[in-house]
Symmetry: C2
Subunit: 328 residues, 2 copies
């Protein structure tokens, strides 16, 4: 293990291209969607839903990949592991993450399922509802996780969505083990309340035993600990992890580290599309944390990055973020 | 020939997916681009340029296809002929044009070149500069033009870009012949000043002998007639075609029909990205014209549609346009 790791952040996640479109409120009910959530769909359902969707725009997505892209835009040194296919959308994904300076060594899958797609419908209130066809992501496994790369990153950041495909769950454990063996930190985003519900027991064990830094929003953290109030869930998180970073939408966020509690205000902004807000928050937080900033500064950069993403269409900011970290 | 055609507009053009990204002004000079123009590039140049481009968004494009999409959004009955490949970007193109209600009967190309891509860089002034890799478009030919479909459209709208691939030029002539044989009208957009320069003699013959409605901006019309002033070029156009529709950017547009001249004001708007402005203008004009509106009303709807596209990123409006035609 080198004393100074080459990367600040190594993200591991489902490598996905987003198809984003605006829909009226009725579209959600008509298609039996859980508004604000992420549902997994198979090929047939993806084809049917896509056929029913209005014209859209395509852009690179994936929760941890978004976090990596935004962190790199903020100036962090970032690497990413995720599985795309050897197809056009896979090329788009690779281009976009490389274009912001993220090291992406995972070779494309040949001859298997296509690159994953997330069909995202945005309602007039700015809420996004996601439907993911995992495609090539289901083949991401421990073989794609290079322990030397993990050892060379200060923080390995894992998305909870990795628990949906079986092999990725094993990749997750392999990465966490390699990180701790090298004296590095493991961060987890709970990703989605429905994802937490699907994997609650595994997540609880994981958070207690393998995670140093936990990111979760209100519905995710209360779902994880099955508490009635956010405050109770927050105390569970404080006890379980070294650093809990709990977001609360427009009410801001709260950072818990041992006895310390830091409240952070949200940055007020017009709400256009909330796709990627949590991902950008984690990016700002980790970029500041690995740059040695205080928790309050980490929260500030996190909220700034989230606001930039919420004020626009799509998960990766088009604005220039390169000076924000230095201005803290 | 039926007295009432089933379609108001049949568009024929290069079926293209756009990759749009913002770049600083220097990017244009560094890559030797003609700002505001469209250049044809081969696979190697496309790969090199894409590698140098920032992260982008992908969305359906193609000049005549954009016109068809916007006209359908305005309520016109529209069909489109264009060649995509049997690949992911081809599926995106097909989805998006079908989603707005355009009939798109052209079967995808199997086992040949991939779906065409246009790499579009947008500078801070909102100008777009385009680099097109034609891919599957080079196989569009007369075989793809169904004379019965042409006969069933009030106006067959052809983009000048069709003169770049050889077979498409033949498709163009076949469509124009079928339209006139059925007593229908032929509209042409000159597309681009560089395209006009590449095919000036053919375009002059075409405009004089085969075109009823001509769309052109200032640089295109002065390039076509090689005149020093717009006014001279306009008089040539008046003499050559039944209806000349000449756009002048923020200065509005002028419509010439025999001795009649109608000046139309541009709709003032914030300039975000001019991609698709001319396409949307033609859409508004033809949607109103085929609905039996006056020339002034045609110009008004055209300017409205163009303004909607200029105020946003990408060539196809995200706004709801469905009531604009009725409100004339």
């Amino acid at each position: 293990m080198s004393a100074t790791p080459r990367y600040d952040i190594l993200g591991i996640g489902n490598a996905i291209v987003d198809v984003v479109t605006s829909v009226p409120e009725q579209f959600i009910t008509k298609h039996d969607m859980q508004k604000g959530g992420m549902a997994l769909i198979d090929t047939a359902a993806a084809d049917a839903l896509y056929a029913a969707m209005p014209a859209g725009i395509e852009s690179s997505g994936g929760s941890a990949a978004n976090t990596c892209a935004v962190a790199a835009m903020l100036g962090a040194k970032v690497a990413y592991i995720g599985q795309v296919a050897d197809d056009q959308l896979g090329q788009v994904f690779r281009h976009d993450i490389a274009a912001v300076g993220v090291h992406f060594p995972t070779a494309p899958l040949k001859g298997g399922a296509p690159t994953a797609r997330c069909l995202i419908v945005v309602t007039p209130d700015g809420q996004r509802t996601m439907n993911t066809y995992l495609g090539a992501c289901v083949t991401l496994g421990p073989d794609q996780v290079d322990p030397a790369l993990v050892a060379d990153a200060a923080v390995t950041y894992l998305e909870g969505y990795l628990f949906d495909p079986d092999a990725a769950k094993q990749a997750f454990y392999a990465a966490a083990k390699a990180a701790h063996a090298a004296g590095r930190q493991v961060a987890l985003s709970l990703s989605d309340a429905f994802c937490v519900a699907r994997h609650r027991e595994a997540f609880r064990d994981l958070v207690k035993g393998h995670v140093d830094i936990l990111f979760a929003n209100e519905t995710e953290i209360t779902s994880l600990y099955e508490t009635n109030t956010w405050a109770e869930a927050a105390e569970h998180a404080r006890a379980d992890v070294a650093l809990a970073v709990l977001t609360r939408g427009s009410e801001g966020s709260t950072i818990l580290r041992a006895a310390e509690t830091v409240d952070v205000q949200a940055v007020a902004t017009e709400v256009v599309d909330t796709t990627g807000a949590g991902d950008a928050y984690a990016a700002g937080f980790l970029a500041a944390l690995t740059a040695g900033k205080t928790l309050a500064q980490c929260g500030k950069l996190a909220s700034f990055a989230a606001a930039k993403v919420i004020a626009q269409y799509g998960a990766r900011p088009t604005a220039d973020l390169s000076t924000a970290l230095a201005q803290l």
